[in-house]
Symmetry: C2
Subunit: 192 residues, 2 copies
């Protein structure tokens, strides 16, 4: 990822890379500082990037990195390797799968959280789309960036559609459960 980002724009610092990530590949690839800085050192040691101190624009002294020819080659080599997908781990789906082992309200809460998150990432991606179209449409990578972005949009939209029907089903189930309860406990006439 670092090599790729430096290929698109060189002379970035570790801090900057982290920020660039959040604004571009962030929704399908995240890295922490604890990952980036050691990685930069390693890449430097392997001669895939070069460092250059730069007049501290912000706070501390800052290192800017760029690709070396070897780094460029390593990037292309890596790109050609078939991607591997690691075993999926979706805690949301797992909890939903076991929904029958607990109260319906629990699953409903998960679903609402799911919707909230997806709605906000949808908004974020749409914003990135607009900004990117304004500023990057002339860059060679642009078509590919749009491709990944469109993928995200499609996935999120289908997820949100699904979540609507899922939520409808669950709230209905909860209603009938409450109804059962209240008719059963009717003779007690509870106040709260």
């Amino acid at each position: 990822m670092i090599l790729g980002l430096l290929a698109i724009e060189s002379n970035q610092s570790g801090y900057e890379i982290r920020k660039t990530v959040k604004g571009s590949v962030g929704y399908f690839w995240g890295e922490s500082y604890g990952q980036i800085y050691p990685a930069l050192k390693r890449l430097l040691a392997e001669g895939l990037i070069v460092a250059r101190p730069s007049g501290s624009s912000g706070g501390r002294k800052r290192q800017e990195y760029s690709l070396t020819p070897a780094g460029r080659a390593a990037l292309e080599e890596w790109l050609a390797i078939p991607y591997r997908e690691d075993p999926p781990r979706d805690e949301f789906l797992l909890k939903l799968f076991f929904g029958a082992e607990t109260a319906p309200s629990v699953s409903i809460a998960h679903l609402r959280r799911f919707q909230d998150r997806y709605r906000s990432t949808l908004a974020m991606i749409q914003q990135v789309e607009v900004l990117s179209q304004e500023r990057n449409s002339n860059q060679p990578g642009f078509p590919f960036w749009m491709l990944t972005l469109k993928f995200g949009l499609a996935q999120i939209r289908s997820a949100l559609e699904w979540s609507e029907s899922a939520l409808a089903m669950l709230t209905q189930a909860e209603q009938s459960a409450l109804h059962h309860e209240s008719t059963e406990a009717n003779s007690d006439a509870p106040k709260a």
Copy 2:
């Protein structure tokens, strides 16, 4: 996950749990033996499950596990905790994102691989759907199982749709690239 599976069906061995996983939650939650057996030991030590040796059905002597009341409580407690999503890491999208840094054929290859995989998981899930409808439709968990399954179906379908248009775009780009090459090198009249 183990607690959940044992809640649905008790008296399962580690080996069996692994198999059950593959046939049910497999496409959104995977575990390896190196994860399951230590976890079973830990759960046993914590008193959340109990072991009982069972007449070796297959090869070696076999341990069957079931939930204890404490395990049941722990499961419900866990289900109530808001799910957390860990940082996404989609190598496919990352490689596609950097598509402009390499030959179009590379990205096309990734996309084809993507389609192949998704088509086969689609087929698998559809098969699970049919089997589950035949055999589990009376179980209390059934509606939730269908929910997660429908989610998978929706995601895969939208991914495949997207991949068609993406592939169309890339093959077109490759064609025009080839065309350029041949017209540019026309005076040389290459044979291969």
